[in-house]
Symmetry: C2
Amino acid sequence: MADGPTINTIAERAGVSIASVSRVLNGLPTRQETVRKVMAAAEELGYVRNAVARSLKSRRTNQVAFAMADIGNPVYLAMVRQIQPVLKAAGYRLVLHSTDAIAADEIDVLHSLGERYVDGLIMSPLRVTGAHLDTLKAARAPVVIIGQVPEGTRVDNVRADSRTGVKLALDHLHALGRRRIALVNGPLDTVPGAARAAAYAEALDALGLPYDEELVEIGDFYRPDGVRAVAALLARRPDVDALMCANDLIALGALDVLRASGRRVPGDVAVVGMDDTDLAAASWPSLTSVSLGSAERGKAAAELLLDRLQHGEREPRLVTVPPRLVVRASTSGREPALPYDTPQEGGGR
Amino acid sequence: MADGPTINTIAERAGVSIASVSRVLNGLPTRQETVRKVMAAAEELGYVRNAVARSLKSRRTNQVAFAMADIGNPVYLAMVRQIQPVLKAAGYRLVLHSTDAIAADEIDVLHSLGERYVDGLIMSPLRVTGAHLDTLKAARAPVVIIGQVPEGTRVDNVRADSRTGVKLALDHLHALGRRRIALVNGPLDTVPGAARAAAYAEALDALGLPYDEELVEIGDFYRPDGVRAVAALLARRPDVDALMCANDLIALGALDVLRASGRRVPGDVAVVGMDDTDLAAASWPSLTSVSLGSAERGKAAAELLLDRLQHGEREPRLVTVPPRLVVRASTSGREPALPYDTPQEGGGR
DNA sequence: TTGTAAGCGTTATCAG
DNA sequence: CTGATAACGCTTACAA
């Protein structure tokens, strides 16, 4: 772990100036003989370019940050999995920030762009406050936001379409003959919670079904919350015949309760999850789920940022990723044949 | 995105030298009046310290890298989830590398430490070759290896104990009265694959059970491989009464096949997975699994690295994390009561 | 083609 | 207490 050699060390050793060393190292036109000497010296010394000094001069770090609420969340994980290879291919490193959905932390990250330790940022905030927008406007590096932002916000933006997603699910359930379709939602003061509530009402309306307050239950976005919410729902409306759950974890909790109450899925109650995480394919019965394209959103965000990094100023872009309904046994009653093609779920060595 | 202010900008504005600005910014003894002027100027200009210039001078980046095969793998994910907060609390940023288990990529990462863009590295290689060890020896920054390394390798090291882990599982199955316990393993040329094969033989021996080649099946570490392997196993030995699977994904595949073949779990065949990922709690029946402490290993690695970063040279340390058997329905037949306490599985908003 | 020297934004030394 | 000034390691005019 001795101090590494610098271009000075090489210059001495090769008997040339540091400028020549730099030129050779950067492939600029140089006399053959000099190239040879420099390369030899670099080789012998095990020289490696100092990225920090380079960055100071070039004003580029070749690093990009991704800030999300929690890396343990399968949705963000799916994003990271796509973002990483795109950046890597373009020669960028990925710096990860986990903000625990704390607004102050998110704003900190935006602010810290001023430190110039990254060339750009991809951020997926759970709520977007005025403070977010102010800091965003003053951000010292390009930012891509994944998620809803107020109309007119001048920023590259990637969105899911949970409105259409919920509609896909409700249409599917309706086509299966379900008429008492409940919504098991997360908190309404989050962007996704609010979006799903609105979409549910809208989709019901389009189907000509009445909106019934008793069929809506709200908890948090985790499995035990799903258990509680669905237990309450069943007590209130034992005749419910379908559950639209705001994410897969809630849906897993729903499956638990339905099983415990002796109901068959989908015979008595059909269940749809959301996000189409790995858990949906792992559960039994396997879970029909609305994919909001987390992977695609991650990829799109990375590409948007790279484009901005390469082309500088341009009009902000909006990419909306279409949702997709992945039908599995919790609504169709049919498990996939064996041996099936599971999508790569990530290894487990 | 205009060029940010530097200490020069502030110095001009405040009518002092850059040295004074630096002193104020670093809290060194300075006259009150000067402090005031500098702070005011910094405030007005929205000054933020340039991390790159700082690093060049201080020779510290406050960044640490974590290199793993694939962030999508739940095992590495569990590590990242622990590593991140430990580093964050100590003021370090996390740079993520995904090497796809390609040795050349891993060696690249080790080599790139010479670029000095991070202060240290945590690495979890799937196989450790001679080239790894050579590069490791010459590494220009502290490294912590998660996983087995040859005896005598002078490096901070964190290990799982899959030997004991397999033994825990087999003892459990034996206590339940199972006597024809199969091993569904991954490739033998990986470190975990080899370790599990050896541990299986050893544990059988300790129990006084014969080693039966027909009860061992090898595939890869994914769910479809589990499906294939267990189908072959059942065809050969329909009397098998327990499956020790080398990871949870394989075990999920096993559950699929058993279900399709009309066997009850655990009535006819008990199943144990390994790694205790989120999927184990999500499956039905829920999966008994051997936790190899991925989370703890991640945490230990981060702490080891931080200690080395703070205290410099010292003897390399070895931390071995004990395994833990998490008993669920696939062996006990009992699902947890509702509403249960699920460990935080990561959200899903 | 090559070397000298300036500068990227900080920190730190050393006189005043 | 403060201000010049020299690094940190690299890139890049500009001159030779």
